[in-house]
């Protein structure tokens, strides 16, 4: 009987198109992802193949989310087929077994719903075969197929996920016999997935998140987080570890649900549960005997009344519907999860400032809003017909436009209503966390200006589409298809105008400092544009609204044409004119006044630039030595005028007869070069060459005058220039002045892109070279255009703001409504500085003769004392250990959150408002990340601004890694020798390194050859240098740094390399540890330690012998992650914890491990709870869970 029903289920599905459509869709998507550069899912970047097992597994997981809908369709069908065909009453009287019937259907649906996802492998295979042949992608991007990938994915992900989702959907379908409820069940599964996803935001929760993820998506992420490119290319997922546990958990849940569903299933049709009616009291009323006379009014005003009546009826029918309630509850739950949870950085949270809550709301409910609008657009359009009342409504004398507008209006009102609920939740969450600065206006403006117009367009589009097509489901499909296809068309043609993407606008982006930002005006215009577009669409929907039964589109068109008369026509003319005016104005602003190149043009220009001017790359250029700026900032107009007087010297050994400039037309540069002639003016690539009438001989100097200005005109397609703001202008010298010489940064840098365009392979950085002189004449900040520069600035701004340039404030005065400031840098510095202007509060303190100054927004005072403190501590430690500080001030300046970083300029450190100023540091035991960041930036005053490395591999180790190390030392001092606190901080650096190398696009390099790879110079650099000071002593590392700095601080080129530093380090390292320099700096070394068992034995003196049974491995990895084992001769710590949480380190000892298997015995004064190898975490291991074991007490 079971097989009968199974066969029946399969046969009927194979006869219907649904299965093939699903399979085809998935195949197509996988094909596109493998074969096209424009579709990116699954993380196949750099060295990871387009069809790597890792990539395909990600396809399975991501497309598996869609597949829940397929499961919903198949399981719902299986459960309800007999019910829907009303065959059940007949069927269930036949002598059939319940088991065979139930499980036959169930397993049938399960098999069916797993089939579409197999399309991934079909599509990927096709893509891998066709795309290289067709020349769409480089054949090197395709790797071998592993049959194991298919099998393992099927049994680890596809089958269990479909089983789990199916068991829920089947249960719901049996129980409620409603397709809608079944699909709502599918939606509920999504919500469960997203909620567990929010747990993943801190590495402490990774394991919980990995277990609670119903689809195993997060689990696979954790499972594969440290995969190297080579592993991504070869390893298929296996039933092991967290993946196994997760799968078992959700498989069991699925089994329990399906068993419950089996036992609650009965052939007997249940009587619908009915509420007991209250006894109705018959109401007394006076009968009206005659039909009351009524007057009918078809004049002015009736349309409005009818609109209100439609609107009201629509609103009621949406808000009272079950689907709405369920979807709203989901939205609320999802928002709740995201408001409650979420760590951002080093296990810390920010204060819930309004813009953060807004972004929580947008990210967790945006999709729901769209679903509500799309779904109910169909409901409203088809409601009359579904309720069978359309003939009555259609035969009343109302205007179809009235009802069309009422539909959109009620949809939009529902969105507004929901948003109010979400905002209320957001506000409550702020209050609940004790944050009382509630900005309702920000919530409302953000919603009405940024989100609502998009919803209006969506509602209008869907109402329009639904009106034209003949069936609600076709309508949904066509609507979604149109929007989806259109977005693909836009991206393929690279039309990035926001006028073409429904609901798009420049966007507003709230910052506590600068309000809604420069996109506001443009966004309002785009809002108007989209609202007018919507009105026109609704107008057409009204025109085409089927009042009578029509056969065919031609008749529809005829009726529409007949309706297009008189008032209706005038209204359209008015709308069309208004639309054209607004569209024209926007076009003028965004395409003519503020033109922008699309990506394609940009690439072509880069290629052309490289091809045309690469020949000037090694041209000798004069070097900047002195510069004097005059900058006028007009914040309210967002205009900036710059004048610079610069002196350049020929430091080379040949005369210079030409000067080369890259110009930024936005800044309208004007150059005054004495005795010169403009010989090339390339206005397309913005490149100019001036010929000097008298060549500049070695040692001679030349004075240039450069004027630029940035004038803000109208509004832009994007948000606009976010460096020049009404409050919070933040410019740097590179931006405001033209650069000299051939600029390599213009070149296309991506390896695969270069290949695609037939450009020669380009190395990221020059090869590290020992004892270099000529190749070390350029440093990586100024690229040879300057060395140490004297800078003076006169800067003015509006009288309510403070303008800051680098150096000491020499003079300050007011002229009219303008404030002027004159600054001078105290010591010649790198040509790398910022100019800022905002309404600042300033906190000032003295540290010896150095002014500590924090410039901040008045709303962000909370962390200021901690910041001052961090600057003071840094100065103290660095001056003591590295050398003197050469500036008379150390400034931190807040800038708006359009960028999110902190940066060090000479004596000046801009720091983003979203990153530190609002971080909640109230819990003293947490990581003080603000201190870490400030200490890092302060350290750059030594490492980058005193010692600056040559432009060569390893450069950033000498700046970023050193700054990370310095910052760690400041924190270490703070922690008073609490190794566990440092371990807790450094785990983020380990994670950063290991995750970073996992997604390396080109090649991983050893630390001393780092090519500006952040995961290496920050992550690995922190970890290595911290371990190094633990091994050879903080004093020794500092001494090496100090002597290295002494030689290179403010020194003329040649600039130092990492090899120069290692020369200073090696003498400080004892012979027994010299191997560390090779392993940690010169190789990519990974370790794998394991404590197999640990036991304790009581000694006669009352102490305990703790014996460790250890396994150890050391590997060198190559650039893509191939590992080769290395012989062991390592000094490693063994230790034990007094508590079972492994947080209180009782004692530890460093031992020499020379064998892969070894045993050691340590003595403990009292019986510890756990033992560990490398308890303070000094070594880079991918798996550390197996380093700790509970101690067995032996009698």
């Amino acid at each position: 009987m079971f097989f009968e029903f199974l066969k029946l289920e399969l046969r009927s599905a194979f006869r219907s198109p649904m299965l093939y459509i699903f399979f085809f869709l998935i195949t197509l998507m996988a094909f596109g992802a493998v074969a096209s550069d424009n579709v990116t899912i699954g993380g196949s970047i750099g060295n990871v193949y387009r069809n790597a097992p890792y990539t395909l597994t990600n396809f399975v997981l991501i497309l598996g989310l869609f597949a829940v809908l397929f499961a919903a369709a198949f399981f719902n069908n299986a459960a309800l087929r007999d019910h829907n065909s009303q065959f059940n009453e007949i069927m269930f009287h036949l002598p059939i077994g319940k088991g065979g019937y139930f499980w036959g259907r169930f397993i049938g649906a399960l098999i069916l719903s797993t089939i579409p996802l197999l399309g991934i492998f079909a599509g990927a295979w096709l893509g891998a075969v066709i795309a290289p042949l067709a020349g769409w992608i480089d054949p090197e991007r395709i790797g071998p197929f592993y049959f194991e990938t298919l099998v393992n994915n099927y049994f680890i992900f596809i089958l269990p996920n479909m089983f789990f989702a199916g068991s829920i959907i089947f249960f719901l379908a049996q129980k409620f016999k409603s397709t809608i409820i079944s699909f709502v069940g599918a939606l509920a599964i999504f919500v469960a997935y997203f909620v567990s996803g929010t747990l993943l935001s801190d590495i402490d929760n990774e394991s919980i998140a990995a277990l609670t993820d119903v689809f195993g998506i997060g689990t696979f992420d954790v499972y594969s987080r440290y995969f190297t490119p080579i592993e991504k290319n070869t390893l298929s997922p296996q039933f092991e570890g967290l993946l196994l546990q997760n799968r078992l958990i959700w498989l069991s849940v699925g089994i329990v649900i399906s068993i419950i569903s089996y036992f609650s299933f009965s052939f007997k049709e249940k009587l619908r549960f009915r509420k007991r009616r209250r006894k109705e009291v018959r109401e007394e009323y006076t009968p009206i005997t005659h039909i009351p006379a009524v007057s009918q009014n078809f004049g002015e005003g009736i349309g409005w009344k009818q609109f209100k009546s439609f609107y009201h009826a629509n609103l009621l029918s949406i808000t009272k519907s079950v689907v709405f309630k369920i979807v709203a509850i989901f939205g609320i739950l999802l928002l709740f999860a995201s408001l409650v949870g979420g760590y951002e950085y080093f296990g810390l949270q920010s204060y819930p400032v309004t813009y953060r809550v807004i972004s929580d709301i947008a990210s967790s409910t945006g999709l729901f809003m769209t679903i509500v609008i799309v779904f109910f657009s169909g409901e409203l359009v088809w409601r009359d017909r579904i309720s069978n009342i359309q003939e009555v409504i259609n035969s009343t004398p109302h205007n179809s436009h009235v009802s069309a507008f009422a539909k959109v209006a009620s949809l939009v009102s529902v969105a507004v209503l929901l948003q109010f609920v979400f905002i209320a939740m957001g506000v409550l969450s702020q209050l609940f966390r004790g944050y009382t600065h509630i900005e309702l206006d920000v919530y409302l403006v953000d919603f009405f200006v940024d989100s609502l117009p998009g919803y209006i367009v969506f509602a209008a589009i869907f109402v329009f589409v639904q009106t034209l097509v003949g069936n609600p489901y076709v309508g949904y499909f066509v609507g979604i298809l149109v929007i989806f296809a259109w977005s693909i068309v836009l991206s393929v043609l690279e039309w990035s105008s926001n006028m073409l993407a429904p609901g798009a606008s420049p966007g507003i982006f709230y910052s506590d400092m600068s309000g809604f930002g420069p996109g506001m005006v443009g966004t309002l215009w785009f809002d108007l544009y989209w609202i007018l577009t919507s009105v026109i669409l609704i107008y057409f929907a009204g025109l085409f609204w089927p009042r009578s039964v029509v056969s065919g589109f031609r008749e529809k068109l005829g009726i529409a044409r007949a309706n297009f008369t008189g008032k209706t026509r005038n209204a359209f003319a008015f709308l069309a004119v208004a639309w054209l005016l607004v569209a024209g104005f926007i076009f003028y602003n965004t395409q003519m006044l503020n033109d922008y190149p699309n990506q394609d043009t940009q690439e072509q220009m880069s290629i052309k630039y490289e091809e045309t001017y690469k020949k000037y790359e090694n041209q000798l250029l004069p070097v900047l030595t002195d510069i004097n700026y005059f900058i006028d900032i007009f914040p309210s107009k967002r205009d900036v005028y710059v004048k610079a007087e610069a002196r350049f010297i020929n430091k080379g050994d040949a005369p210079i007869d030409s000067l080369f400039f890259n110009l930024d037309p936005d800044w309208n540069p004007r150059l005054t070069i004495p005795n010169s002639e403009l010989v090339l003016d390339d206005t397309e690539l913005d490149f100019q060459i001036y010929k000097l009438k008298n060549p500049l001989h070695p040692g001679e100097s030349i004075d240039l005058k450069i004027e630029t200005s940035y004038i803000t005109k109208g509004f832009t397609n994007g948000i606009g220039n976010t460096n020049i703001l009404s409050n919070g202008t933040f410019l740097n010298n590179m931006e405001i002045l033209p650069s000299m010489g051939y600029s390599e940064s213009v070149e296309i840098s991506d390896k695969n892109d270069r290949k695609k365009f037939g450009l020669p392979i380009k190395s990221r950085m020059p090869e590290l070279e020992a004892n270099c002189t000529n190749k070390c004449m350029k440093n990586y900040l100024s690229n040879g255009l300057s060395d140490w520069v004297n800078v003076e600035t006169t800067i003015s701004t509006s009288d309510d703001q403070t303008a800051v340039a680098p150096g000491s404030l020499i003079k300050e005065w007011t002229e009219g409504d303008r404030k002027y400031f004159q600054y001078k840098v105290d010591h010649p510095s790198q040509n790398f500085y910022s100019f800022m202007s905002a309404r600042y509060e300033v906190a000032r303190e003295k540290h010896n003769d150095i002014d500590i100054e924090i410039y901040y927004d008045t709303k962000h005072g909370v962390n200021i004392p901690k910041m001052v403190d961090a600057v003071r501590k840094s100065l103290t430690y660095y001056e003591e250990n590295f050398g003197p500080y050469y500036h008379k001030q150390a400034r931190i300046l807040e800038f708006p959150r359009y960028s999110n970083f902190a940066q060090a300029f000479p004596g000046t450190m801009p720091y983003a408002e979203s990153f530190g100023f609002i971080t909640n540091l109230e819990d003293e035991t947490d990581n003080n990340v603000v201190e870490a960041v400030i200490a890092h930036e302060m350290a750059h005053q030594w490492w980058a601004h005193q010692e600056i490395p040559a432009l060569m591999q390893g450069a950033t180790m000498l700046t970023e890694s050193f700054s990370e190390y310095s910052s760690l030392m400041v924190m270490k001092q703070e922690s008073n020798g609490d190794d566990m606190k440092m371990k807790n901080f450094l785990k983020y650096d380990y994670n950063r390194y290991l995750r970073g190398r996992s997604s390396e696009a080109e090649k991983e390099l050893p630390l001393y050859k780092v090519e500006n790879q952040q995961y290496i110079h920050y992550g690995k650099g922190s970890v290595i240098l911290y371990a190094l000071q633990d091994y050879i002593g903080e004093d020794s590392v500092n001494a090496a740094l100090e002597s290295f700095l002494k030689e290179y601080a403010y020194a003329e080129p040649p600039y130092p390399t990492t090899l120069n530093f290692l020369d200073y380090l090696e003498p400080r390292v004892p012979d027994s540890l010299q191997y560390l320099i090779k392993d940690w700096f010169k190789e990519i070394t990974l370790y794998d330690f394991r404590l197999k068992s640990a036991s304790a034995k009581k000694r006669s003196d009352g102490k305990y012998d703790i014996s460790f049974d250890i396994e150890a491995h050391k590997m060198y990895a190559d650039t893509i992650g191939n590992e080769t084992p290395q012989p062991l001769n390592e000094w490693v710590d063994l230790g034990f914890y007094s508590d079972s949480d492994a947080e209180k380190l009782q004692n530890w000892k460093r031992v020499n491990i020379t064998d892969e298997q070894s045993t050691f015995t340590l003595i403990a004064d009292s019986l510890p709870a756990k033992a560990a190898i490398d308890p303070r975490r000094m070594f880079i291991e991918r798996v550390i869970d197996d380093n700790v074991k509970s101690i067995d007490l032996e009698e």
């Binding site: 109705e280 009323y285 009524v294 009826a313 519907s321």
Partner: protein, 293 residues
């Protein structure tokens, strides 16, 4: 004095079915019954008159109002109850009627309320006016449908199968109500229940295959058949035999035995008794003219 004049109305569906075949009718004040079997084209005719369906050719005028070319004006004076009438879920009867009243231009709130209350009383739903119509039975929904058709000051009331699903009491109540409002306006009532027409209508037409096969008064058509209808109770297995020998108009069960009516100008003998012709006999005679003996 209202007058509905239909001239040569035709409509062929895309699948080739002739829904209306050159239909012409003159209808004046009062109740007009439209009889016909399922699929005869009654609903097509009524939907066309209610501006819900386009006609291929022909014309229809309510007094001077050109229905086919001025649908909006017709809708202002139309009351329409479609054959299948549903209601919005989650909306009460009073809300629904109020909504329809606004759509029909009853803009005065007080008037609207009085009218809705009156209609709810008349269809016996006043108690349930604030209940969601979702829980209403088929008959109750039908009563709501009747109520909404009477809103406004309709000059033309079209009711398609109005009494389907009503119990006898409700049916009487409905007939009275229609009689009340239908005095000075044109009321077209389509039905396949012959008794409805007999009880209510002064004029009637019978449709079959999209054509009008009879138009006139019930009295006249009954006169036509006077003395020509004969009845006999037979056994089940004799039915087929009688059908070959006589023009059997109807064959139905009475007290468990088949009873046949035949049409014959003369006494057929053979145990047949004369019977007073009823509209049912007319109906069957008219729609089966081909086998006329």
């Amino acid at each position: 004095m209202a007058r509905l004049s239909i001239q040569n109305l035709s409509k062929t569906y895309p699948n080739g079915v002739k829904a209306l075949d050159n239909v012409s009718l003159e209808i004046s004040n009062g109740m007009f019954g439209l009889l016909g079997p399922n699929g005869a084209g009654k609903s097509s005719l009524m939907r066309t008159l209610a501006t819900l369906q386009e006609a291929d050719s022909g014309s229809a005028f309510l007094n001077d109002l050109d229905i086919l070319n001025n649908p909006t004006d017709l809708r202002k004076v139309l009351g329409y109850l479609p054959q299948e009438f549903g209601v919005y879920p989650r909306i009460t009867a009073a809300q629904l009627l109020d909504h329809v009243a606004i759509l029909k231009g009853v803009s005065n709130k007080k008037e609207r309320k009085d009218l809705v209350d009156f209609l709810l009383q008349k269809v016996n739903l006043y108690d349930k006016r604030n209940k969601s119509v979702k829980g209403f039975s088929g008959g109750m929904k039908q009563r709501v449908g009747i109520a909404q058709a009477l809103i406004g000051n309709p000059q033309l009331i079209i009711v398609d199968e109005p009494t389907a699903g009503l119990d006898p009491g409700e049916r009487n109540r409905f007939h009275n109500l229609l009689a009340d409002v239908g005095e000075n306006v044109v009321v077209i009532l389509s039905t396949h229940i012959v008794d409805d027409v007999r009880e209510l209508c002064s004029n009637m037409a019978i449709m079959n295959h999209g054509e009008i096969v009879y138009a006139g008064t019930p009295v006249a058509v009954l006169d036509e058949l006077k003395g020509k209808v004969w009845v006999k109770t037979i056994t089940r297995d004799e039915v087929e035999v009688y059908k070959t020998q006589h023009h059997v108009i109807s064959d139905k069960m009475v007290a468990g035995q088949p009873q046949i009516h035949i049409l014959s100008d003369n006494h057929p003998g053979d145990g047949f008794n004369p019977v007073e012709p009823n509209l049912e006999d007319v109906f069957f005679t008219k729609i089966n003219p081909a086998v006329k003996a």
